[in-house]
């Protein structure tokens, strides 16, 4: 994998034109994530209905192409899933971005997996893994309504 492959169309596309950017109307869960090393920040908004299905999800924030693309793809994939499915996808993604060769989740369709795998190249740039994971950790905090600071990979 070279850099050109990491910064492939889909990452650049999502990085430049992130989906679900903004503040969801009538969200009922949210969390802020912050990377103290670089100052990047993200705020994830969730609207969870009575059946614990993500009716709407969005994010605000600023960051590099990798973090913006990751948040953008994440919000796309999580919308419409229920909380358990979402958490399983999150775990699957975090496992893949750190060590696992691929995604295992049965809650993801093949084309969704392909999109997420675009971010797998980040593995080779250890200092950049946290860029890709910040929004995902923040989403976990939003689900759990956690007040404390969102952790990042070290």
């Amino acid at each position: 994998m070279n850099l050109k492959e990491l910064y492939q169309e889909i990452i650049l596309e999502h990085g430049k034109n992130p989906r679900n950017l903004g503040k969801t109307d009538d969200f009922n869960k949210d969390a802020k994530g912050n990377n103290p090393l670089c100052g990047d920040n993200v705020h994830v908004y969730l609207k969870l209905n009575g059946q614990k299905i993500v009716e709407d999800i969005s994010f605000e924030g600023s960051g590099c192409a990798i973090s913006m693309a990751s948040a953008s793809i994440m919000t796309d994939l999580i919308k419409g899933k229920n909380e358990n499915e979402a958490k399983e996808i999150i775990e699957d993604f975090l496992g893949m971005i750190k060590e696992n060769p691929d995604l295992k989740s049965e809650n993801l369709k093949e084309d969704e997996k392909t999109k997420l795998m675009c971010l797998s190249g980040v593995k080779q740039y250890p200092m950049r893994v946290k860029c890709a994971t910040l929004s995902w950790h923040t989403l976990v905090s939003a689900f759990d309504n956690k007040e404390e600071k969102v952790k990042i990979e070290n």
Partner: protein
């Protein structure tokens, strides 16, 4: 000045970094080390090691002499009046913490004001913030102008009758602005205000003359001036170091210890509690000798030409926006590229062997003021060449290609 010869004194440039020749443009973060410094650490541990200032055996005496030799070298290098005005610390951060903490113990009172600037590194803000919490002092910020400078007039404007301390950077690690420290000090002293200078970026790039600057404290980071990590220097005027209370307690800083009373050592031991970074101090003497062998005026002239060249080069690059345009500038070229986040820039440059820093450079206040979360920063040292800056520029053009920008 033979730059090829100087560069050869740094072993790291013999290494291939990810199959590339290293273009190291991160010296404001930390500089590379010349062989003499690396060798001295090795030699000290191999042939001369002992703790200093305690035992009477041969090695201890010899090590103590080496340690104190560095103090004398530093005194001469920065033209301090007295050898005892040089205190070794674990870094410039500790040096500023020492000043803030000891001024905070008795000297400063509730309602007193500390004046810093928007350019300050977190290490020249957070230690004062501690006093804001513990002593209820107020912190005021002198603002930058459009060129990323803080002027004497702005400082004067922000001084109030309650200002007791002005703590400022000598050279901004983001905009490169060199502050008029001497003039600020003169003004401050006319109003009885103490001046603390964060010299982290000043010391590697500027001629230092404490008696001429006349500031009360000056903090130096040794690893940014071709020296070892884990070492800083606090210059403090003797009257202050004598008057202020100790910072840390422990071995080496005491005179007499009884169950009901303790008295403290004279300077400089009063501020050097515990076993110090001995090998680093001893090796730092070689850093000073290295800089002196080139001549600090030559260093200044050479780096100033480099920065000017880099600035012109980047200004011609249509997507690059330089941060700050100070009249008096040194050391750093900070920039943003429209459409590419600094982290992406740094990763792409790294692939070409060009090492820069991206982020807020520990200056969140400044970045907030500039309305950006991060910037990219290329910073130079004595081993850099115009060729390095050309490579930087080429690599920036490569970023544009990857991001499909024109």
């Amino acid at each position: 000045m033979n730059i090829d010869k100087i560069k050869k004194e740094f072993p790291i440039f013999d290494e291939k970094i990810q199959n590339n020749d290293l273009v190291y443009l991160d010296s404001a973060n930390s500089s590379q080390k010349p062989k003499v410094v690396i060798d001295k650490i090795n030699e000290f541990y191999t042939k001369q090691f002992s703790n200093v200032g305690r035992s009477v055996h041969y090695l201890a005496v010899a090590a103590t002499n080496l340690y104190e030799n560095t103090r004398t070298s530093v005194q001469k290098f920065i033209n301090a009046k007295d050898k005892n005005e040089i205190v070794f610390t674990k870094g410039a951060t500790e040096a500023i913490n020492l000043v803030a903490n000891t001024l905070g113990q008795d000297y400063l009172q509730e309602g007193d004001e500390i004046l810093i600037t928007e350019l300050e590194h977190h290490s020249n803000y957070v230690p004062w913030h501690f006093l804001r919490k513990s002593k209820n002092v107020k912190i005021n910020f002198a603002e930058i102008n459009d060129d990323g400078e803080v002027t004497l007039e702005e400082i004067e404007k922000k001084i109030t009758p309650k200002t007791r301390v002005i703590s400022i950077t000598h050279l901004s690690n983001v905009t490169g602005a060199i502050l008029p420290v001497k003039e600020i000090t003169k003004l401050a002293h006319s109003k009885g205000i103490i001046v603390v200078v964060d010299g982290c970026q000043g010391a590697p790039h500027l001629r230092l003359d404490m008696q001429d600057l006349d500031c009360d404290f000056y903090a130096i980071s040794c690893h940014k001036m071709y020296g070892p990590t884990g070492l800083g220097i606090l210059y403090g005027k003797k009257k202050w170091l004598e008057e202020l209370p100790p910072y840390q307690g422990g071995g080496g800083m005491i005179n007499e210890v009884k169950k009901d009373r303790i008295s403290y050592s004279d300077l400089p031991n009063k501020y050097e509690a515990g076993t110090m970074a001995t090998a680093q101090v001893i090796a730092f003497d070689q850093s000073i000798k290295f800089l002196e062998s080139i001549g600090i005026d030559n260093v200044m002239k050479y780096e100033s030409d480099l920065i000017e060249y880099g600035q012109e080069l980047l200004q011609r690059n249509n997507l690059v926006k330089l941060i700050g345009n100070p009249r008096n500038k040194g050391g750093v070229l900070s920039f943003t590229i429209k459409g590419i986040h600094p982290h992406d820039i740094a990763t792409i440059l790294d692939e070409d062997g060009v090492a820069i820093r991206a982020g807020h450079h520990c200056c969140q206040i400044l970045h907030e003021k500039l309305n950006i979360t991060a910037s990219a920063r290329a910073s130079v040292g004595i081993y850099n060449t115009k060729d390095d800056l050309d490579k930087l520029n080429n690599s920036i053009n490569n970023c544009k290609k990857i991001f499909n920008l024109k």
